[in-house]
Symmetry: C2
Subunit: 395 residues, 2 copies
């Protein structure tokens, strides 16, 4: 049995790269950018009025002029015009190009318009209300770097530079397999000794957060069935997530089957609670990573978030957001293993605080819906105190 | 012009309820639950072994017995068996039903199995390693309350109680309309006076976070075109999000068009930066809410997150996560309006800290991709100090 830190390091050492693909702009939402995005022109592309008002040549004002005859009305979407004389002005709308020979925009609120003239009521500053060409970015400047998640703001940038197709990191093909003879379909009414499947569906929902739609498979605890199915699944997927069948029970065939299918065991059993019987291995021929979680709901859920999610981030080139929370209550961990304790967090004056959730052990599924993450407590004689900082995994 | 707080209150007073619909279990991910979810049986439904090992009658051990003949092997998914005599034991696997007449499970690691017998090596505690029937929840207990978002943990609970179909809050039908003659499609090469559309696509991506797929529409600054299209859109949608056309410019037809279409103005113009010309109204006949944002990217984005998202949460019965962050740098706001300042946050010893992003004003689209939210600074003579708590909107 290895420690949590060793196990985590071994998982992270098996980082994969599934390459790059090109998708339509709106499909790139929540994907990981795989190319730098450059400014295809200056931004803004022209001296742009930021107000509705009038555009003047400041020098004329400086020389004492405050009444300007209006020679034209300029709106966004019109080609650039010219101020033909410093005695004149143009009405100009937000987003319009400032005309040649003008350099200052005075908003309507600070001018009086009558009989085709604009009378300036307050003292403008030269250059005011103009968003200068190239002031946000010059042609060729990097607007977005790769290895970041694309969200609404990035979609705006991609649209602006004309990226109808976006290069993003490919996601792994994932198969989620549940095992266990006690499990029946959600639609069935279980007999007294049966329970409905939940782990695989829960993993399906968790993966959908990262845009992955897995194949779902259920296998009974029959060695031959498991073997036959896993052969195919190993060939067709980059990742297999299993739940169940890795404990010390007589029908826990997974480690044995993996061995017979030449899936190299990286480790089995970690000094942690929950999730001690976690098995991790690699099938080198197809380069398929196998995360085999114990079947208890809380064990599967914890291992998924503690190992798989940070590993997936690493594979996609994203930084996993390491977080710490402040304990609101003392917790003990004098066991010789790392404990992951379910907590409910809340913000208090800008501080992220965590309260442990009382649960019924690793089989207590409903407890997961009361928590929003786990704190990680390494073995320690001394109590973890109220107010102490501990590392946190959001779920 | 009204204050930000007044404007926000007015928006929130227009909370809508779009009713309830039933969807397939896996489609309920990220939706808002509209029914309480009850335990359809006890959880666990039987006394369940939490270890692989042997099940005994503790009384026999108490009376001095430490060697037990193995009479059967029980695995998960088998109907309940019986321990036929206190001198015997059953091998039992994790998840299996504890047999009648047995009350204690000893894990394999603490027993020696040889010649059909199990010899107990350590002193067990009565009842150990058994997850008692009903200890997590009794039949009829509420496992999930309505008005919460369904994520992976809730999917597990719903599956366990056999919910193949889930009652969730209906989402609004949304139409996103961009206006402006200067705008061309993302696929086009803009002329020097044109720019590509980005706001509508950015809103599309933002809405997808909340599972809403809007209709997208672009209208040129022509009053008749705007009117004709908005008539239809008002009939077919619960919400319209507009960007552009609400400023004081000569081609800002939206307020006028809304009036002619009997969309009642709730307010126009808010003492805030960015996003001052925000227009909000309701078409009472179809009960369509109209959020009309100014066309600058930062203005639209800010107003969307500051007004629309909290309003949507309220409509769906969710609590909007009000947050505060700790300023890492002092910021001034001596203007007579509420400022929303783009910030980048980071956690430092459990505290959420925020640094303002330098941007080029409300037209600087790329700046949004550098920030992860806005802080809200109401007008105040005194500087907002480093270390001060201010309210925060995550984007």
């Amino acid at each position: 049995m290895i420690s949590f830190d060793e196990a985590f390091d071994k998982v992270i050492q098996h980082t994969q790269n599934w390459g790059v693909e090109t998708v339509d702009l709106l499909e790139s939402t929540d994907r990981v950018l795989a190319e730098p995005v450059l400014a295809d022109r200056d931004f803004p592309p022209f001296d742009r009025s930021t107000r509705d008002g009038i555009a003047i040549d400041f020098t004329a004002f400086e020389k004492g002029r405050s009444t300007f005859q209006i020679e034209s009305v300029l709106s966004a979407g019109m080609p650039q015009k010219e101020l033909s004389s410093p005695e004149l002005c143009c009405e100009i709308m937000t987003g319009a190009i400032v005309p040649k020979n003008a350099d200052t925009v005075i908003m309507y609120e600070e001018a009086t318009l009558e009989n085709g003239n604009a009378i300036v009521k307050s003292i403008p500053k030269k250059g005011q209300n103009i968003h200068k060409r190239g002031s946000d970015a010059r042609t060729g400047a990097i607007l977005l770097r790769p290895d970041r998640s694309v969200s609404a703001a990035e979609i705006g940038v991609l649209a602006t530079v004309g990226k109808t197709r976006v290069s993003v990191k490919k996601l792994p093909k994932v198969c989620v397999i549940s095992t266990g003879n006690e499990l029946v379909d959600v639609s069935e009414t279980p007999l007294p000794h049966q329970i409905r499947k939940s782990n695989a569906l829960s993993l399906y929902a968790a993966l959908s957060k990262d845009n992955i739609t897995p194949e779902l498979l259920h296998l009974t605890d029959d060695k031959k069935t498991i073997e036959e199915n896993i052969v195919r699944v190993l060939q067709q997927n980059d990742v297999i997530l299993l739940s169940g069948g890795v404990s010390k029970g007589k029908f826990d065939f997974i480690p044995e089957v993996m061995k017979s299918l030449h899936v190299e065991k990286v480790f089995h059993r970690v000094a942690q609670r929950p999730g001690k019987p976690f098995w991790f291995g690699v099938q080198k021929q197809h380069n398929t990573q196998v995360f085999s979680f114990p079947g208890n709901p809380v064990s599967t859920f914890t291992n998924y978030h503690v190992y798989f999610v940070p590993w997936l981030y690493q594979c996609l080139g994203l930084r996993y957001p390491k977080r710490e929370v402040i304990l609101d209550q003392p917790i003990r961990n004098d066991l010789p293993l790392t404990r992951f304790v379910q907590v409910k967090t809340h913000f208090e004056k800008g501080k992220l605080c965590a309260n442990p959730i009382t649960d019924g052990g690793s089989g207590d599924l409903a407890s997961l819906s009361k928590s929003d993450g786990f704190v990680c407590l390494r073995p320690r004689e001394q109590e973890y105190e109220k107010g102490e900082l501990v590392s946190f995994y959001e779920t």
